[in-house]
């Protein structure tokens, strides 16, 4: 039934699939609300909230995937609208987790930077919270413009910008795969498979500078595959997309330059139509990225160099036999969860092999297919990073944001191929039930693995009940926000405040102060000593943020400070004595107390 006019063929079923998907959003929203209702320690309904979360996640994802796999004919428009609808629904899942404010530390940093831009009207303002982001102001410009033009608060503008960026990215992914010659079903399935990426649901949808750059990476790739018209518009659009990505995020712009170089290489090798355009855009990207880093953002080399060196050293150490043991499972990840994630990797590898086999058997060595196959290999190389060093899992997740794109395209081609090719033995009819169910099962496995291994981790999957020490989004509550706001109003912004992980994020964003990352010793020492005074002086600490909850509870992620020498080994709280030692100092002033968070003025110590 429709309100006006007849529906296009296939549209009604697609809209029903979308409506079912929105039921999932409502169920997850209920699960989040039920989990929050346990705030204060009551656990009633928490089990139901967990069940609701998983049921809702399945409802959001599976109807869309199921329709794309099962529909006899998938037209371009409903397919595109459906995957964009899925992206919108999944963005709402992220928003519903914390609908009133940003809570993830990086989001708070960009919120603060946007607030500064709105207030001053100036770009490239020093940012002690995230110095590397100073020379990549794309996200802040987008959000500040929305604030300036609409009068909305920064949080609302940030949610709008991040949401629009997410939808544009998914639409661009669909358009790119379709422009490369895939059918609508395959293009849409590529988006669905990509939605099972580790960081897709939360991290890549956050108000972060990477989120602003990602859609423009995909648009630049689309510009190389666009084959209609004269191509002048596509070149112009590609150049614009490259420039926006270049000034928005360092890693994304570097990956874009690499991707375009890869595509240009295969286009030239296979003498693909439009290869000059690809080569031109690859040159523009290389020049833009090198120029921006060389002229404006030199500090990013040091910022990215440290984790890169750590990863390389870990790999080398393991190869030479001097390596540390592979990274332990993240806190709260049971063995079965790791087994599911391992199963996902195996399933993806199986799809990769199937895709490679189809390419070789069919002798379909088109430039796009070869590039996708090469990109897929990078996905597995990136996934192996998780086993190297303490930062391995995070680096693997970050890399998957990019390398999972070609893997998704390849997997979608294989899954759609199952649907199209399998026939009932002895007849010409297609047997769709088995391949559709198999493909749906595989997608369900991938989605489950992403929820188990992606962000937020098991301990933060629901937004309640209550506060979690070191729990990132779960550690931001009204008490911390009130303390940070008090600091800004009463102490001013020229403070250097030692704090735990959450306190540092709050004192920088809401407090406007400079968080001190390396002052863990002040908290870890059982008694105050000369070494602590040295730390205080060396780091020019003016104030101390003390959250009493860190005394009794171990941090959720076993990390309590930005630079934590005991990262991964904090299995207990700090202990009351370690926090009470500050009160015994004669020259210290406790200037703020809200019963949970205390702020000490260290100026006279």
């Amino acid at each position: 039934m429709t309100v006006a006019g007849p529906a296009r063929p296939g549209t009604t079923a697609a809209t029903v699939a979308f409506a079912l998907s929105t039921v999932g959003v409502a169920v997850v929203a209920w699960a989040y609300a039920a989990a929050r209702a346990g705030y204060g320690g009551a656990q009633a309904g928490y089990g139901g909230a967990q069940a609701g979360y998983w049921a809702g996640q399945a409802l959001v994802f599976l109807p869309v995937a199921g329709w794309l796999l099962a529909a006899r004919r998938v037209a371009a428009r409903p397919a595109a609208l459906l995957v964009v609808g899925l992206a919108a629904n999944q963005y709402l899942l992220k928003w519903a987790y914390s609908p009133l404010e940003f809570r993830f530390p990086d989001e708070l940093q960009h919120w603060a930077a946007t607030t500064t831009l709105v207030r001053t009207g100036l770009l490239f303002t020093a940012d002690p919270g995230l110095p590397a982001a100073v020379h990549y102001p794309g996200l802040e410009e987008m959000a500040a413009a929305v604030v300036g033009l609409t009068g909305l608060p920064v949080t609302a503008a940030g949610l709008v910008v991040a949401g629009v960026a997410r939808l544009v990215f998914v639409a661009a992914l669909y358009a790119t795969v379709a422009a490369a010659g895939a059918r609508p079903r395959t293009a849409a399935l590529a988006c669905v498979v990509y939605a099972t990426g580790l960081h897709y649901l939360f991290f890549d949808a956050m108000f972060l500078y990477q989120s602003a750059a990602l859609p423009f990476l995909m648009l630049a790739v689309w510009a190389t595959r666009y084959r209609r018209g004269t191509g002048v518009g596509a070149v112009a659009l590609g150049a614009v997309a490259i420039l926006v990505a270049t000034v928005s995020h360092h890693v994304t712009s570097a990956v874009l330059a690499g991707t375009l170089a890869l595509l240009a290489g295969f286009d030239l090798l296979r003498r693909a139509p439009g290869r000059r355009r690809t080569l031109l855009l690859a040159g523009v990207a290389a020049l833009a990225v090198a120029g921006w880093v060389g002229l404006a953002a030199r500090d990013v080399l040091a910022y990215l160099g440290s984790p890169a060196r750590t990863a390389v050293a870990s790999v080398l150490a393991l190869v030479t036999g001097d390596g540390q043991a592979p990274a332990a499972a993240p806190a709260g990840s049971p063995l079965w969860s790791m087994a599911v994630q391992g199963g996902c990797l195996l399933a993806l590898f199986g799809l990769y092999l199937a895709g490679a086999r189809a390419l070789v058997r069919g002798r379909r060595y088109g430039a796009w297919r070869c590039a996708v196959l090469a990109g897929g290999l990078l996905f597995f190389a990136g996934s192996a990073l998780r086993f190297f060093g303490a930062q391995g899992p995070e680096l693997a997740g970050r890399a998957a944001t990019f390398t999972f794109v070609p893997m998704s395209v390849l997997a979608a081609g294989v899954l759609a191929g199952w649907r199209e090719r399998r026939r009932v033995p002895g007849s010409g009819r297609r047997a769709v039930a088995v391949p559709v169910l198999a493909a749906l099962g595989m997608l369900a496995l991938l989605a489950t693995g992403a929820r188990l291994g992606g962000w937020p981790p098991a301990w933060g999957r629901l937004p309640g009940p209550g506060y979690l020490v070191g729990g990132y989004e779960r550690a931001v509550d009204p008490l911390g926000v009130a303390a940070a706001r008090w600091s800004r109003n009463w102490l001013g912004a020229d403070q250097r405040v030692a704090a735990d992980l959450t306190g540092a994020a709050l004192i920088f964003s809401y407090g406007g102060a400079d968080p001190v990352a390396s002052a863990a010793r002040l908290y870890d020492d059982l008694a105050w000593g000369f070494a602590d005074e040295e730390v205080l002086q060396d780091l020019a600490v003016t104030s101390l943020w003390v959250d009493l909850r860190t005394a009794t509870s171990a941090p959720a992620d076993r990390v309590l400070f930005l630079n934590d020498p005991r990262a991964g080994r904090r299995d207990t709280g700090l202990g009351r004595d370690r926090l009470a030692k500050f009160d015994a100092l004669a020259d210290i002033a406790r200037v703020y107390d809200n019963g949970t968070i205390r702020i000490y003025d260290m100026g006279r110590v």
């Binding site: 009133l100 300036g148 709008v160 420039l243």
Partner: protein, 269 residues
């Protein structure tokens, strides 16, 4: 038939130029209008109008699929904000409301003018599209399932916001603070001025007790206005620690405590 290859010329129909009219109106609303229309006009300028005009300038006719047409509108609008903002900044223009409004409005009008000035033969293989006379937009159908989906999403959004607000409101925040500006220290009298404040989301009433050396004690009744902060300035001893404690009515144990460190005054070193 809507196209005849590369020989037939087409002109932009009136609807293709509407962004050039809408943009100045939106700029006026953003700069002068009331709050709600400003949100609508501002979102149009930030996310729709520049991208729509640029897309039509870059890809005339119907050279794009449906999804490409839709995605380029917000994408090019966001690109306008990023690259235009950088250009304005390089020109020394602060990025405030007027700058953003004029930037997006000017880009929209300029793109429409460029499009109008370069309208030529339909490129080969490019059928008529929005903005050409031969094009007739089909009437969209809205299935009931989409209306149900919209209602569900609205319900989920309401539930999320209400739940998060209730959770935040359930956290009792009662803040006690004390600060003293070093410039208020009277070294001869051995005193300084302390500013005490009580804030939070629980109005009280409370009792505040300030104590110091030599039997210095002051007791004050505190009631915090909803959403406000109670403040008091006291002249207190400077040479020793001065402690302020907040009590709930009828209790003897302080539930918030702050204190000032001693400062050097005559006789105390």
């Amino acid at each position: 038939m809507s196209t005849s290859g590369g020989t037939r010329r087409y002109r932009a129909a009136v609807p293709a130029r509407w962004p050039a009219v809408a943009a100045p109106v939106a700029v006026a609303v953003v700069l002068l209008g009331p709050a709600v229309p400003r949100v609508v006009a501002g979102l149009a300028l930030a996310l729709v109008l520049p991208g729509l005009a640029l897309r039509r300038a870059l890809f005339p006719g119907r050279a794009l699929s449906t999804v490409e047409r839709w995605l380029l509108v917000p994408a090019l609008s966001l690109a306008t904000l990023v690259l235009g903002g950088l250009a304005l900044y390089a020109a020394g223009v602060p990025l405030h409301r007027t700058a953003w409004a004029l930037l997006t409005g000017a880009v929209t009008v300029a793109a429409v003018l460029v499009r109008a000035g370069t309208a030529g033969p339909v490129p080969p293989g490019v059928p008529a599209g929005p903005g050409t006379r031969a094009y007739r937009r089909p009437r969209p159908a809205v299935p009931v399932s989409l209306l149900a989906a919209a209602a569900l999403l609205a319900g989920a959004a309401w539930l999320s916001v209400a739940s998060a607000r209730a959770t935040d409101a359930a956290v009792a925040v009662v803040e006690l603070s004390v600060v003293s500006n070093p410039s208020t220290v009277d070294r001869v009298a051995g005193t300084r001025t302390a500013v005490l404040a009580v804030g939070g989301n629980r109005p009280g009433p409370y009792q505040l007790r300030v104590s110091g050396p030599d039997g210095y004690v002051r007791a004050l009744a505190v009631r915090v206005a909803p959403g406000g902060t109670w403040r008091a300035e006291l002249v207190v001893p400077a040479g020793e620690r001065v402690t302020a404690e907040l009590f709930r009515p009828g209790t003897a144990v302080a539930f918030r405590t702050v204190y000032l460190a001693p400062v050097g005054v005559a006789g105390t070193g």
